[in-house]
Amino acid sequence: MEISRRSGAEFRGGSDDISAPVIDVSHVSTKYGQAVVHEDISLSIHRGEIFAIAGGNGCGKTTLLREIIGLIAPSSGTIRLFGIDSRQLVMSDGHPVHRRFGVMFQQGGLFSSLTLAENVAVPLREHTTLSEALIHDIVAAKIAMVELPPESAAKYPNELSGGMRRRAALARALVMDPELLFLDEPTAGLDPIIASGFDELVKSLKHLLGLTVVMVTHDLDSLWQITDRVAVLGYGKVLGIGTMEELFQSDDQYIREYFQGDRGRDARKQAGRRAAGRDA
C-alpha cells in the first residue's frame, strides 16, 4: 500500500521522488583519532520498509544512526537522507528535512521540564500555526495511538515508567506524521510482553501511516518478527544485508554466531509460530 500523503517539498525539504532510496549511505568511514568505528559502509534503505541495523555491542550501530540523522558527520563518505547530504544537517539546525523524520532516542530524550502532552506538542508548536484546540486533539490522538493512557498526558517524564517513556518518545517522534521513523534500541530493557507489544505497535503504525522505519536493535525477537531487511554490522563493516531468513543461511562466521545461537533459533521458531498462527 503506497500512500501518497506528502505535499510540497518546499515545506519539508528534500526530494519527493518515490522510487529513490530514502536513505543512501555510501562508503562511509568513521574514525575517532586512532579508533576506527566504521570502514567503507554502504547501504540503502527504501521507502516503506522496516529496516534494522543489528550487530554486537560497540560495533557502531548507534554511531551510524547518529550520522544518518545528521547529529555527527562521518569522517569520509556521504550519507543522503531524502537526497540531502547529511552534512548539511550537521552544519545547519532547523533544516526543513527535519520535519520529514522522527527520532526516538534510547533514553527517550523527553524534556524533563515539560509534561508528556507538552513534550508531544513541541514539534507542532515549533513548526505549525495550528490552533490550540487542534494541537490538543492531535496530541491526544498520538498519545492514544501509542497506547498510553490519557491520564498520563499531564504527567512529567520522571513520573513515567521506562516503557511509558519509550512510548511517549515515540508519540513525539510521530506527531508531525513523518515519513521516516528512527528507533534507537526501542525494546532494550522492556519486559517481553511490553517489548512484543511495542513491536506490534511499530508494525501497525507502519501500515496505518505508511512509515519507513529504521531501527537499531539487537533484540532477536524484534528482528525476526517485524523487520523486512536487516544489515549486520561487525568489525566496522557491513557483514551482510538481507531478510532474516537470508542472513540465517549466511556463511559468514560472525553472522552465524549472531543468529544461529540458541537464542537466535528460538526467536526464529517463535516468529514462525506467530506467522503460522496469523495465517490460521
Partner: protein, 370 residues
C-alpha cells in the same frame, strides 16, 4: 499531486479536496470556521478528491463531522479512499478526554498558599534531618578517624583550596586596592596618611577577606557539590552506593565538608596577605607610606585578635557552604531541570547563610567588646 487543500459547500454537499496534511491544516481550519454550513437534516460529505491525509487531517475531518452531528444533523461520508478511511477510523475510536487534562490543572483558590506552606514545612524537616544525619556522621568520623576517606578529603582540599588560589588571590588583591583608594582620598584631607594601615588591615583581616573568600567558594564549590551529588542521584549512582553498603554521608558529605573546612581557613590567610599587599601598593603610590612604615604601623595598629576573628569564622563558613551544597544535591529528585534549580539554590542559600552568620558574629563580638 494537488498541493492545496480546500473545504467547500456546494448544493448541501460538503466537498473536501486536496492534501489534508499538516502544512495545509491551519488554512483548512480557518476555512472551516468561516464556512457557511448547509442547514439540511442530512449532510453529505464528499471526500473523493482528497489526495493525501495524515493524522492531523483525519482529526480535522472528524471534528467537522462530529461538529455537525452535535448540531443535530445526519451526516454521511462518501468517496474517501480506503487507506484514509482506516486512519479516520483510528482517530474516530479514540475517546475524547479533553477534560482529564484540564481537571488536573484546575486548582482550588487556597491551594497554592497551602502547598507553599506544606512544602516549606517538609523542606524544613528535611533540612533538619540532614543536619542531624551529617552531625552524626561527623561525630562518628571524629571518633573513628580511620573511617574518614582521607584520599578523597585531600582531593577536595586540592580542588576547592589549591585550585582556587589564583582567583581568590586576584579578587582580594583588587579589594585591597579598592579599599586603599577609597580610604586614601579621605585620609589625605586630614593628613593622617598612616591610618591607611588601620583601615586596610582591620577591615580586610577581620571582615572582608574571609567574606570574599567564602562568597567565592560558595559559588565555586557549593554549586559543584550540589551538581555532583544531584547528578549521581539522577544516574542512580547514589542508590548503587547505598546498596553496596556504603554510607553516602561518609562517602560524599564528610570528605567534602571536612576538606572545605581545612581549605577555607588556609585560603583566608592567603587572601589576607594578598589583600593587605594590594593595600600596601596603593598606600605607597597614593599616600607615600613606604613598605617599612606600613609594616611597622601594622604591628601596633592591628591587634592579632582581628586576624584570629577573621580566621575563626572561616571554618564555620566552610561548613555552612559544604552542608548547603550537599543538602541541595540530595534534594534533587527529577531530572536535568531539578539539577539546575537546586544548584542555583545551593549558591544563593550558601551566600545568604554566610552573610547572616557573619552579621550575627559582628553583633555578638561587638557586645563582648572584641
Amino acid at each position: 499531486m494537488e498541493r492545496q487543500a480546500t473545504i467547500s459547500v456546494e448544493n448541501n454537499v460538503v466537498y473536501c479536496r486536496g492534501a489534508w496534511t499538516l502544512p495545509n491544516l491551519p488554512q483548512l481550519e480557518r476555512g472551516g470556521q468561516t464556512l457557511r454550513w448547509p442547514d439540511a437534516p442530512t449532510i453529505l460529505y464528499n471526500a473523493a478528491e482528497v489526495t493525501a491525509m495524515d493524522t492531523g487531517g483525519a482529526l480535522l475531518l472528524r471534528r467537522c463531522i462530529t461538529g455537525l452531528q452535535y448540531k443535530g444533523h445526519q451526516t454521511s461520508l462518501q468517496g474517501l479512499k480506503p487507506e484514509f478511511a482506516q486512519l479516520l477510523q483510528r482517530v474516530q475510536t479514540q475517546p475524547t478526554h479533553g477534560g482529564g487534562n484540564a481537571a488536573a490543572r484546575k486548582v482550588k483558590w487556597a491551594d497554592s498558599p497551602l502547598r507553599v506552606i506544606h512544602s516549606r514545612q517538609t523542606s524544613a524537616l528535611r533540612a533538619l534531618a540532614f543536619i542531624g544525619e551529617s552531625t552524626l556522621a561527623f561525630c562518628r568520623s571524629i571518633a573513628q578517624p580511620r573511617s574518614i576517606r582521607w584520599k578523597s578529603l585531600m582531593r577536595f582540599v586540592e580542588l576547592d583550596g589549591v585550585r582556587a588560589l589564583p582567583i581568590t588571590g586576584l579578587l582580594t588583591f583588587l579589594v585591597g586596592v579598592v579599599i586603599a583608594y577609597q580610604g586614601a582620598e579621605q585620609l589625605r584631607k586630614f593628613g593622617t596618611n598612616i591610618f591607611i594601615v588601620d583601615l586596610v588591615g582591620i577591615s580586610l583581616l577581620r571582615e572582608i577577606a574571609p567574606l570574599i573568600v567564602a562568597i567565592l567558594i560558595a559559588g565555586r564549590s557549593g554549586s559543584a557539590y550540589a551538581a555532583q551529588i544531584g547528578t549521581m542521584k539522577v544516574t542512580e549512582e547514589l542508590d548503587a552506593v547505598r546498596t553496596l553498603g556504603i554510607s553516602p554521608m561518609n562517602l560524599l558529605v564528610v570528605p567534602r565538608a571536612l576538606g572545605l573546612t581545612i581549605a577555607l581557613p588556609l585560603l583566608t590567610v592567603y587572601a589576607d596577605v594578598v589583600g593587605v599587599f594590594g593595600g600596601m601598593l596603593i598606600a605607597l603610590g597614593e599616600l607615600n607610606v613606604s613598605f617599612v612604615e606600613f609594616v611597622a604601623r601594622f604591628e601596633e595598629a592591628v591587634p592579632v585578635r582581628h586576624f584570629l576573628i577573621g580566621l575563626g569564622k572561616a571554618p564555620f563558613f566552610a561548613a555552612l557552604i559544604a552542608l548547603v551544597g550537599c543538602y541541595q544535591g540530595f534534594q534533587i529528585r527529577g531530572g536535568v531541570d531539578d539539577v539546575g534549580r537546586h544548584t542555583t539554590t545551593s549558591v544563593v542559600q550558601g551566600i545568604f547563610l554566610v552573610i547572616v552568620f557573619d552579621a550575627i558574629c559582628s553583633i555578638l563580638l561587638n557586645w563582648w567588646d572584641l
